[in-house]
């Protein structure tokens, strides 16, 4: 048979690509509702209701992939850290989102290696007129606990709550606390760990 080329290359880059959500519309809606609820209750650790199909490009986590499949689309540019370059074809195929190397123009930033996280002000903080043009960070962390860690307060939290994030560099909290002064500018952060996630929107204040 001629003209079909090498059968191995015919499978191309798609052979290693797993499916996304089993029910794209309903699964994304369920995850959207949960993410919305998480952002309304900063620091609350929740389980993502739906996981995408197995075989995600390592080290992309299940909850991180659910967030990407739910929120990223053709209108959002996605920035990936060095460890997640393996996930670029997954994001490009299932979300249709463009991958950008410029953290400052990304709508979403997916981070698998928090130790290597760029300074928070390297991302887009939005403008006073258009604060929503900021970057939403999705950071894969080693673990989440509500019993210890930084004290957080603000909208959605009765009095104060605690959020312990394992595997995050200490500079993150000081950089994040410094951004509070810029409100309504700032970045929204989703911490993901396996299938769990917790949100840290820009309106949340941090005390050590």
């Amino acid at each position: 048979m001629s003209g079909l080329g090498d059968p191995q290359s015919a499978a191309g880059d798609f052979a290693g690509l797993p499916p996304g959500f089993a029910e794209p519309v309903h699964d994304a809606q369920a995850c959207f509702r949960t993410i919305l609820d998480g952002l309304a209750h900063p620091g609350r650790i929740q389980e993502m209701p739906v996981s995408p199909a197995a075989g995600l490009p390592s080290p992309l986590g299940s909850a991180a992939a659910s967030v990407a499949l739910t929120l990223c689309d053709i209108d959002t540019k996605v920035w990936l850290d060095d460890k997640l370059t393996s996930a670029s074809s997954y994001i490009a195929f299932h979300c249709g989102a463009a991958i950008t190397a410029d953290a400052g123009e990304a709508s979403f930033a997916l981070v698998a290696d928090p130790a290597d996280l760029p300074p928070l002000d390297a991302f887009s903080l939005g403008t006073d007129q258009y604060p929503e043009r900021s970057t939403t960070l999705v950071i894969e962390v080693a673990g989440l606990v509500a019993s210890y860690g930084v004290r957080i307060s603000g909208p959605g939290i009765r009095d104060t709550a605690r959020l312990g994030v394992a595997g995050l560099p200490a500079r993150f909290w000081s950089e994040r606390a410094a951004l509070n002064e810029l409100f309504p500018r700032g970045v929204d952060v989703l911490f993901v760990s396996g299938t769990q996630f917790a949100a840290l929107p820009r309106s949340t204040r941090i005390a050590f």
């Binding site: 048979m1 080329g5 059968p7 499978a11 798609f14 052979a15 290693g16 499916p19 299932h94």
Partner: protein, 168 residues
Amino acid sequence: MMVAAGAAMPYANDDDAASLSARQRWLAVLAKASVADLESAWSELPQRPRYRTLRPSETGLVMVRGRIGGTGQPFNLGEMTMTRAAVQLVDTTGAVTHTGFGHVAGCSAKHAELVALFDALLQNPDLHDELVSHVIEVLAARQAAEKAARAENLAATKVDFFTMVRGE
């Protein structure tokens, strides 16, 4: 869409270009085939493959662009409904062997999935020739016959306008 089909594109080599145009041909034939024809072709396969859907059928809109006379400035002709799907054939170990894509006009999810399945099967060198002769050529011949019959019917209604030259 209309513009892209005939546009000259740089290929790495002639082999790539040949395999691309062969694939474009079978995808075009499959996309224009009726769902019933594809379903019967599918059920007549000696062995139906194991597969998983990489992207379940989804329906959306595409902007169809055209050029007046084929050479003018491109303009947006209008949007049309389109359905696409992607499937992966898997072998007995669960490893992906071929990935097929289907894009069809309209909103038939089944049609897009069948096109994607046949696209994946046609990429398999062991099945390619058999499928081309038993499915693609049969469908192409049927489509050509339908087109010819329609052209014949229309030709009967053709009116030629002409003006007599005034004899002066």
